[in-house]
Symmetry: C3
Subunit: 390 residues, 3 copies
Amino acid sequence: MSVSLKLTPQEEISADIPIDLEKTRQPQYGRYLDELDPGQVFEHPRGYTFDTTNMLDFARTYMQANPLYLNAQYARAHGFADLLASPQMVFNVTLSLGVQNDSEKAIANLGYYQVQFIRAVYPGDTLRAFTKVLERRDRGPDKPGITRIRTVSVNQNDEVVLQYERKIMVAWRGDRLPTTPAPDVTVDFPGEDAPEVQLPLTDGHFAPGLTGPNTYFEDYNPGDIIVHANGRTITEEHMALTYLVGNSHPLHFDRIFSSGLSGKMSGEPIVYGGLVFAWLDGLASRDVSEHAVWELGFTEGYHTQPAFAGDTVGALSRILAVEDVPGVEGYGIVTMQLIGVKNISAAAALEKHGADLFIKEDTKRGLGKDKITDKIFEIERRLLIKRRPR
Amino acid sequence: MSVSLKLTPQEEISADIPIDLEKTRQPQYGRYLDELDPGQVFEHPRGYTFDTTNMLDFARTYMQANPLYLNAQYARAHGFADLLASPQMVFNVTLSLGVQNDSEKAIANLGYYQVQFIRAVYPGDTLRAFTKVLERRDRGPDKPGITRIRTVSVNQNDEVVLQYERKIMVAWRGDRLPTTPAPDVTVDFPGEDAPEVQLPLTDGHFAPGLTGPNTYFEDYNPGDIIVHANGRTITEEHMALTYLVGNSHPLHFDRIFSSGLSGKMSGEPIVYGGLVFAWLDGLASRDVSEHAVWELGFTEGYHTQPAFAGDTVGALSRILAVEDVPGVEGYGIVTMQLIGVKNISAAAALEKHGADLFIKEDTKRGLGKDKITDKIFEIERRLLIKRRPR
Amino acid sequence: MSVSLKLTPQEEISADIPIDLEKTRQPQYGRYLDELDPGQVFEHPRGYTFDTTNMLDFARTYMQANPLYLNAQYARAHGFADLLASPQMVFNVTLSLGVQNDSEKAIANLGYYQVQFIRAVYPGDTLRAFTKVLERRDRGPDKPGITRIRTVSVNQNDEVVLQYERKIMVAWRGDRLPTTPAPDVTVDFPGEDAPEVQLPLTDGHFAPGLTGPNTYFEDYNPGDIIVHANGRTITEEHMALTYLVGNSHPLHFDRIFSSGLSGKMSGEPIVYGGLVFAWLDGLASRDVSEHAVWELGFTEGYHTQPAFAGDTVGALSRILAVEDVPGVEGYGIVTMQLIGVKNISAAAALEKHGADLFIKEDTKRGLGKDKITDKIFEIERRLLIKRRPR
């Protein structure tokens, strides 16, 4: 069907339409705890098209050093169809696609779990996302509850790209305005229980001069602590960057909203945690993931303090395990912790806090230790890393 | 012709060339009132190439919720050839293409009228723009006058994409430096008097889960007032964003220029109004234009207060009219007002000012009312919106 | 080879891995003076893929007026294969590709010399870079020395795109942490001694209305001083922009690092000089390089003062020479000085400092003159510029 419309001069009509304040509505997005039933499945709005420059811009803004995300020639020489979207971009976009429905009313994002990267994202791909409510913890009618959700993104061929779980703290609706209902569609949840990653890796050892000599699988041993030299000062750029990945929570870009909150979150817009994580990952990348050919997953990820414009973040990694992959030559799996600090260099934070930096903050009280307020983030991650070419 | 040049070492020569201050020139751009003759036609410099990422970035930066501008798969499923440039981007670029010639010397942009969107802009398209001077209002030799101009953008096939009129306040040249003359070329003005929009819409109702359940044509009724929940804090990003759409007026990015002005505009660089409009439109989009398949036009658009870095803007819409389109099933036309406020939430502004928010500021004096200084923008717009699929 | 991996739930293991601070390492990047031997050749990490939008964004952010970098239709009509990357982008990227190896430990960038643009960069091209150490000046064991290096970028076909020299001030390592060794690969240095530029220029005079009437070869005469009207306020955007071109020196984006320095560089992050140069070039472009079809080269480029977020920069040009090109009709070569100032308009700086603005700062002392602290940059550049079409 082709629609044809003649455009005639547009008459001004507002003065002729009576103004009736009774006809006001205030659409609200996100869900309150009462609106998140275990088993419920939501399809998320919009979708997100990836393109070469937005992939390159993301990798560069967040300081990635792995050429797979920066250099299309290098990515192709490794067997990939084209430049790869960085795992951080895929994760940030997938999480953000779910915000308008899942968490725009959330009080806090409590943690990331079982993040699994299943398929490569290339220029031209479009992702959509779905969320299933896994669990709801009621802590009484006067208290916000905790919900655990699983979000999955799929590409334009309906193939699963990423899946992960997170816990969010959400209040009961009470007498607040109702939220916009989800579209009335039956949605099959595309999550996979035992996903299999297929990587089209080639044997070629492309351009050894393009990457460092000390970041191959053999260079990591359990217990190694790696202090990443540079930090990054986060500026007010974070407000625009939040919407650039598709996150619609006003806490991150609406100062009227932020300053109207009470308690710890009140004041300046808080940097969306996904961006903080992306910078920490990037700061670490030239030391630990330059030769990674796949990010297998993250778990137990916690933002232990918020970050604001003006804060400078730094990162440390600690190697937890190294494993051969049966039947796969040329690559091995490295599991590591990634720790973020702010307004102190990573080296100074290690000197000041020592081993305590690597202890999970929510276990500190049980160990009779104080929380470290310089610390902003902790997570465990697993990477498939190239062995040193012979 | 192929030109071949040998590059030899470049000798330093500046010390040998006498410095003669008599040979100084200071090229000036824009036009003074004396240089804008009714009937005159200008072709504008540069042109502007659209590409997938810059279209996506614009839509995301300005918070669009309509997947036609965010999701190439969705746009194609609706019959479009590819991802669509958002109307706000097309409008901002067209206006900006004209600034260096038309308004770089302007004191104020007084209003937008009869903005008509005529053709889709796709990745790879290049726009050029032309302006015809329609009218010049002389208010005496000591006072700036007002000129009404019509600007049109065309694509690489010389097809008209957008046309609009605006009024600008411009001073007489007096003893100021002369401006750079326009290129000495005869230009046919490509504006159309009764343009026809051809939309390649398909019947398919793609992915109802990707958009909200309450934003179809049937969901709007004359008189409805819709308060958009989120605001956006504008940061110093606006200076870079101004040039990114091609606007060269120093008022928006040159603090030396801005602080050298006298009166109301003196001080920090003012946010280019087109960007403010784009954010307001984006803030409103998930409530009113998520299912729009075409922006038909705007008129009577006024920036009633300037915005600066640090300001937080919010938006409200009021439905003015709904119309069937003869011969076109599946879509209807909605006319609405878009109102912008700053440094107050949209909900609080409505509570504070009530019906007066929707009354045009320049009619307030005649009605014995005060202007609303919280209010920054007002316009009427017409959209072709999808009916709810059955 | 295709690698297949089953993703199983990721167990949390960090608490089980003993924390041993003895196993800490702090990888350092860049080179100390002792690590830069004349004759040594380095291949640089990562590479950089160019794409249509990142090329357009660069040209627009830095305010280019030459449509070759803004308008793909115009570039093709001139005989080029597609939109051209602006010379400033190619220069900034090439320099930045070398930073992690060459200058991340540098104290100061002392100057640019013999910058030669040899081949066009188009969307889809990937650049890699190489550096050869040319010279090392030892100024005693307690003092930083000066090294002169030559950096070359090549495209995916190993064709040289750009080469240039710079001098950097670097300290001896002393008891500082060792830096990461370069990859152990034998690298042939791709620099060319007498490079030849091949330009596929066509005779067509495309769209004379798209460019100004006064910026053809004939419009420039030796001695002409051109004051560029607009300035640009640099915001904290510069931190993100630094990494966007690939520059990893923490001086430009890590406030903890910057404020930990002693002396003149201590305090806020300093704007990466390449970005300052790009803005100055852009501010000048509509007056001097709008009709340039090739940037032949730069030399004697000095950042005479640093710039910080909040500074407003302005530019002046002075024509030094005009030359016919034997055998090439339609184009001529113009050599000019480009001068940058900050926190004063270009016009006011000329009024205040007169001829002294165009005298190289490092010759001022010999001439019994004071340095101009308003001045931030000086360079000589050569351009191939179109003659006025008849």
